[in-house]
Amino acid sequence: MRHHPAYFGAAALLLATSATVSPASAHHGWAGQEEQVTALTGTVVEGVSMSGPHATMKIKSGNDIWDLTLAPPARAARAGLKEGLIPVGATVTVRGNRNSDRGRHEMKTIYIKQGNAEYHVYPDRE
């Protein structure tokens, strides 16, 4: 088999590119979030949705409606979440990393507490 130098060049370039993608930025969910964890308390405006690339819910805290981005649906389900489990109007406390754009009320959610029920969506980030 004859190896062309260009093939090695292309392979080296691919390796170099993949090596510079760190685990933190590899997942598009977290790259645009603040480093520190923020806690919020509010009432549920839209219950947990388990469809799409990530589970989601919406809460109202103060005068702001927050988009809560949860884990991919299968992981959110393993954390104990289900559609309809947390009713609209319920008071919840959540922790997560808010969008680094302070004008956007969006949070990648690590943990949800409603009454005595706790949902550890990303225990390794707590």
Binding site: H28, A31, S49, M50, S51, G52, P53, P72, P73, A74, A76, A77
Partner: protein, 162 residues
């Protein structure tokens, strides 16, 4: 208008049905979409590079039949999985600029392939060797094809990062 269409699509029976399919459904539809793109772009890349002058020892007529068939199958798979994937939460994408790059790029790619297949050079390639200006016509089509499909794929991938 696009926002209205996306909201309608999300509320449509297709959106309702796709959302009801369980926690793995999005991942699986996403997988099918990627497989469609692999077939589509893999075949296109092979044919376009041949039209641009690589692998001259492979007869063009021998390469064009399987690659065009595979690209067509891949395109159908990508569309059939792409529409439900969008319908799941179509409203979320109403302010996503990459959507506005992706779909025009696909439209241009389809116009380009339509024009290419209508050209005298393409119609002649199965029956005889091409003359230089015919090869240049096909090479131009191949360049445009790579540019449009790469734009579509890149902006499609970036939709999730907006």
């Amino acid at each position: 208008m696009i926002a209205h269409f996306l909201i309608w699509l999300e509320a449509s029976p297709l959106g309702v049905f796709t959302r009801s399919l369980g926690v793995w459904s999005y991942g699986i539809i996403n997988l099918v979409h990627i497989l469609g793109i692999v077939m589509l772009f893999g075949a296109i890349l092979l044919l376009d590079l041949r039209l641009l002058g690589l692998w001259r020892s492979v007869p063009l007529a021998a390469l064009s039949r399987p690659t065009v068939t595979l690209a067509m199958v891949g395109f159908v798979v990508a569309v059939a999985s792409g529409i439900p994937m969008l319908a799941v939460k179509a409203g979320d994408y109403s302010d996503n600029p990459f959507l506005l790059i992706k779909f025009p790029a696909i439209a241009l790619a389809l116009v380009n392939v339509w024009l290419l297949h209508r050209s005298k050079a393409w119609k002649a390639h199965r029956g005889r060797a091409l003359v230089p200006h015919e090869r240049r016509r096909l090479a131009l089509g191949a360049s445009l094809s790579l540019a449009f499909w790469l734009t579509a794929i890149t902006s499609g991938r970036m939709i999730g990062y907006w």
